[in-house]
Symmetry: C2
Subunit: 369 residues, 2 copies
């Protein structure tokens, strides 16, 4: 497909991509209707049920013909490999329970708002991923001594930032060689669903979702730094869209509360019966356990410690709970996690020009009756 | 839970619920992130894969303890029944392939826009539902001679229109007694997912989704007309929110095209390679086959007939296709279905104050290169 030099797409807003108004464009809504969050009440499940795990699909879900599909391993290797799904499934397999979050979670809470997929909260999920070790495959391919990065390319193709591209991202070689990085063909015991990367996706525990490349078609060892759009432009922490900034990597610490009581349909304001209420939720951090979760009933003025359940696995969220004796009135409930390395969620937004990693504390309006 | 007389929730916009601007409120976005549409490329699947079928959840997904769960059948019957899930699963079972669409599909394309779940297009899906005949259960309960309607009540509770309620809807008795109305515990061969009504939902083929009550807990025979919120207020075709209008019942005729080519991430504008392109999609109507689908390349000025694949079952969408020789330029692709009873999709919007049944023709901007 040739692309004319002057190809341009309609722009939303004034084209600045930083929207001062708190009203949303139809283009943002369109993305929100495709890419869904986990409804927060579904944080009650240790493993997110099928169809509730968040999805973020940059282009279209590809149609994959499994008999014709192959994964190629090439680039800076001494032995190129071409593997069918059956070849992969015959290899030793492992299952990991992994919490995945989109790096843009919280973006639509940013003021002013970077325009992209407009996540509020809940761009997260936990699943059991079954697959085979990436490092074993890389060893088999005899990685050349000059290799520095591993580039993962998907079958999903589209335009973004004015560039035609397949979705692709790299990992540093030492990250790709970790024992817990796998190529997964099953999610919760079933073939990976089309929207989650059928037939094969990368799972790199600890990293934000953008690193877990879906619909894999090739893996290439690079002797240089990958500078493609998703690596050097899109997923960056920077103060302007033009600045290079810092790369987005591991998940920043976050906690989310299951909204108590029952909702108003339109506003999602919660109505809670007076008396004992157990508040609960989940908390996670990219490669660290959660040391504590604090709860506020008054919008962050005062905080009390919640009880945090110890980690039951290295890659998954932890539960927390807090007993509240609810008295009639209006409240703004908040939760705030601190991880074992001392990182805590900010009470104010973490503002970046592309709306990445905004892990500010959640606020839930509640009416106790 | 008591509710104070003056309980009120924050209102969006000016509180009129008819929004003149084409910019969306955060409350609408919040609903869109919970309740997702089928990504239109997934219309390629005859049966919508798990997690891609649309969902519309008014309140929260209930947590259901199956051993304690019971379905009660009461009201105007001579024999009350209380059934466990095991009781239901021991009954004769049937599987129906059914296309379900939300009555609000297309709402956010309405100008001015009624404020509620802001569907663009794709609030639809097709699934294989397995369950047992409702009419057999009703016969067993010995329906009283004065019974006129059957009321279905779910376990999902919340506030809507200022009223606290469980979600509930009725069917006329003759509709409930149809052979193709079932109580379903399985979807595509697996237990109904939490977001689709676990452990049991009503399936009433032909009706818009609001009739297929999820998380069923009771069925009551009524000797009078049910006038609850979801029946007499929410799901109505009316020119104002105060008018009584007409009830929303069967799905209005609609066709949807799978967007061809590849998308721009943010705007979803499509880029298509010149040459032969097969356009395709689905079409359906509540209780009628599709007689024809017409395609326009110029935004509805001229139309040509697509090929429509005959119905392979009475309750499911039909496929259609159209061969296009694409020449470089900009296009607005449209499709327009007519059903066997002669109903055709309007080129202009079907405007109602609650944004129900807006089946206007789809428009897809496409750039051919």
């Amino acid at each position: 497909m040739s692309v004319t030099a002057d190809m341009s797409f309609p722009r939303v807003g004034d084209g600045s991509f930083i929207e001062p108004s708190d009203r949303f464009h139809q283009e943002e809504l369109q993305l929100a209707l495709r890419n869904h969050a986990v409804p927060l009440e579904a944080l009650r499940y240790d493993v997110t049920p099928p169809g509730l795990h968040y999805t973020l699909i940059h282009y279209d879900i590809p149609a994959v013909d499994v008999p014709a599909w192959r994964l190629t391993i090439g680039g800076a290797v001494h032995r190129q490999l071409t593997l069918s799904l059956e070849d992969l499934r015959r290899r030793p397999q492992t299952t990991l329970r992994v919490t995945l979050e989109c790096a843009g979670d919280g973006r639509a809470l940013s003021r002013p708002r970077p325009i992209s997929q407009p996540w509020l909260l809940g761009a997260v999920g936990t699943a059991d991923w079954t697959g085979t070790s990436l490092s074993a495959i890389l060893r088999e391919s005899q990685v050349a001594s000059g290799a520095r990065e591993v580039l993962f390319t998907g079958l999903d193709e589209g335009f973004e930032g004015g560039q035609r591209q397949w979705y692709e991202r790299s990992l540093p070689l030492d990250e790709a060689m970790r024992d817990d990085v796998i190529l997964a063909w099953a999610m919760n015991g079933a073939p990976v669903a089309p929207q989650h990367g059928f037939p094969l996706r990368l799972i790199a525990p600890g990293w934000y979702g953008m690193a877990h490349v879906k619909w894999l078609r090739s893996i290439r060892l690079l002797d240089h730094e990958f500078t493609g759009y998703q690596q050097s432009t899109a997923y960056r922490y920077a103060s302007t869209r033009e600045a290079v900034g810092e790369p987005v990597t591991l998940m920043r610490v976050r906690s989310v509360m299951i909204p108590p009581g029952i909702p108003d349909f339109l506003t999602r304001t919660r109505v809670v019966q007076r008396g004992p209420v157990q508040l609960s939720g989940r908390a996670w951090s990219g490669r660290s356990a959660i040391r504590g979760v604090a709860v506020s009933l008054d919008g962050g003025t005062s905080w009390e410690d919640a009880e945090v359940v110890p980690q039951s696995g290295p890659h998954q969220w932890q539960s927390w709970r807090y007993d509240w004796s609810a008295v009639p009135g209006s409240y703004q409930l908040c939760c705030r996690a601190t991880d074992a390395t001392g990182n805590a969620q900010p009470v104010e937004q973490f503002w970046t020009a592309r709306g990445m990693g905004n892990n500010l504390v959640q606020r839930i309006p509640v009416i106790v009756v």
